[in-house]
């Protein structure tokens, strides 16, 4: 291999990458706020007694889970302005697309952990004379949320990685800045390696925390 590396050309241009990382983090946090709250609401709706509520919500969730994230984002950027005649800022659009996607995945995580709350605990709640609302608030919610934390964290970091897709619709996130820099400096190897390392440096600690939480739960369960 006759290639001389020149990482200095990337380090000279760290400012745009840094700006890009900030946009990426902004996208991730805002999408997670939508995902965590809307996801919970969707999980409750999908377990509703009424079919008329269950069906559309299930369709929504399955549609987001069973199509590529990239087409959701492209669809959002092209079709929402045409259909509803609005154009929000590109970052806002990115947040909404990523947030809805995450909400669908989180809804499944919440649903699984809500259904995993043992039946006896609810029976005990009835025996103690708690109202249905109290049963949800004091019995289901704490256990369910605690149990779903590892999956929610994994999904959250998944959105951090998926957020790179908004570069395709020209939101100036880390990936977009990396692409621009690679073209400007003719240094794709160095640039993309550093961009990959930056993504890795953020995701890796979180995935280690998830691993720790899961191991701790296995120990507690045994």
């Amino acid at each position: 291999m006759s290639y001389t590396f020149d990482f200095a050309s990337v380090f000279r241009n760290m400012a745009p990458l840094w700006d890009g990382l900030l946009v990426t983090i902004q996208l991730t946090i805002a999408a997670n706020v939508i995902g965590l709250t809307l996801g919970f609401v969707l999980a409750l709706l999908v377990m509703s007694r009424w079919r008329a509520i269950r069906l559309p919500v299930t369709l929504f969730i399955e549609f987001f889970r069973c199509t590529p994230a990239i087409i959701q984002i492209v669809w959002f950027f092209y079709c929402v302005p045409m259909l509803f005649n609005v154009f929000l800022g590109s970052v806002t659009m990115g947040i909404m697309a990523l947030g809805l996607n995450l909400a669908a995945f989180n809804a499944e995580a919440y649903r699984a952990s809500i259904q995993a709350v043992p039946r006896e605990q609810l029976d005990a709640g009835v025996a103690l004379g708690l109202t249905p609302f109290q049963r949800v608030l004091y019995i289901i919610l704490p256990t369910a949320v605690r149990n779903s934390v590892p999956v929610l964290l994994t999904n959250g970091i998944g959105t951090f990685q998926q957020s790179a897709l908004v570069a395709i619709v020209a939101v100036q996130d880390l990936m977009y800045q990396g692409k621009t820099l690679a073209t400007l400096t003719y240094r794709p190897i160095e640039t993309f390696t550093i961009v990959a390392l930056v993504y890795f440096a953020v995701s890796f600690p979180v995935s280690q925390i998830v691993g720790y939480l899961e191991r701790r739960r296995e120990v507690l369960a045994s």
Partner: protein, 221 residues
């Protein structure tokens, strides 16, 4: 605004070709990726610290970076590093296989753990070679137990394969975007493309649940 879905049907041949590319790419990467994943999982549970270290770094790195970045790396950097021109398909296969290997290795690792120590002891007692032990005792059980998760890994790969459109490979997503740009009918075209992905991925995710509930319970594994 008015919709005109007839536009989409004029391009059904192009979309079909795109879909075939997507399916071809996905299937090749499923086969190669699963094989890679199984051996990675073995490496991660091996006695040698070097094997464990290298395979762990590999898996963590591919799970910790966006697939888009991996694709860009393989498309733009690998040819420079190797000094050979790679075809689009070859680059796509390499990138997605490496990714699939990393995610399936986690699936296999979990299912390898579920093969009891007694069975491995029994293999030693029966005097089986390590190869026979891996192929005839560990592999069948690991694959069976991993089946539901592997299938959902395959669905993920099918969805991630749409990313190759970003590096100019003519898959379903790429063809769809091209048609949508040329006809200026993004709503119809992109919706149909999304529906095509959905129609394929949705039954597969249902199959995951069916396998989990029926087959595995019947086999009592």
């Amino acid at each position: 605004m008015t919709f005109n879905f007839a536009v989409v049907f004029k391009f059904q041949d192009a979309l079909l070709l795109g879909l075939l590319t997507t399916l071809k790419l996905t299937l090749i990467c499923i086969v190669l990726g699963c094989a890679l994943g199984f051996f990675l999982a073995l490496a991660r549970t091996s006695k040698s610290a070097i094997l464990r270290g290298v395979s762990s770094i590999y898996v963590e790195f591919f799970r910790g970076t966006p697939v888009l970045v991996q694709l860009f790396w393989v498309f733009f950097c690998l040819p420079l590093v190797l000094g050979v021109e790679l075809s689009n398909l070859a680059s796509g296969v390499i990138a997605l296989t490496l990714y699939m290997g990393a995610i399936t290795s986690e699936t296999f690792r979990a299912s390898l753990k579920s093969v009891g120590q007694e069975q491995l002891d029994a293999c030693v007692a029966l005097g089986l070679s390590p190869w026979a032990r891996t192929m005839n005792v560990v592999l069948p059980q690991a694959v069976l137990r991993a089946a539901p998760t592997l299938l959902s890994n395959c669905v993920s790969l099918f969805k991630e394969s749409a990313l190759v459109s970003a590096v100019g490979m003519a898959d379903l997503m790429f063809v769809g975007q091209n048609i949508s740009n040329n006809t200026a009918r993004p709503v119809e075209v992109l919706t149909v493309v999304a529906l095509i992905y959905f129609v394929i991925a949705f039954p597969l995710t249902r199959a995951v649940t069916v396998i989990e509930h029926r087959i595995l319970k019947r086999l009592a594994v």
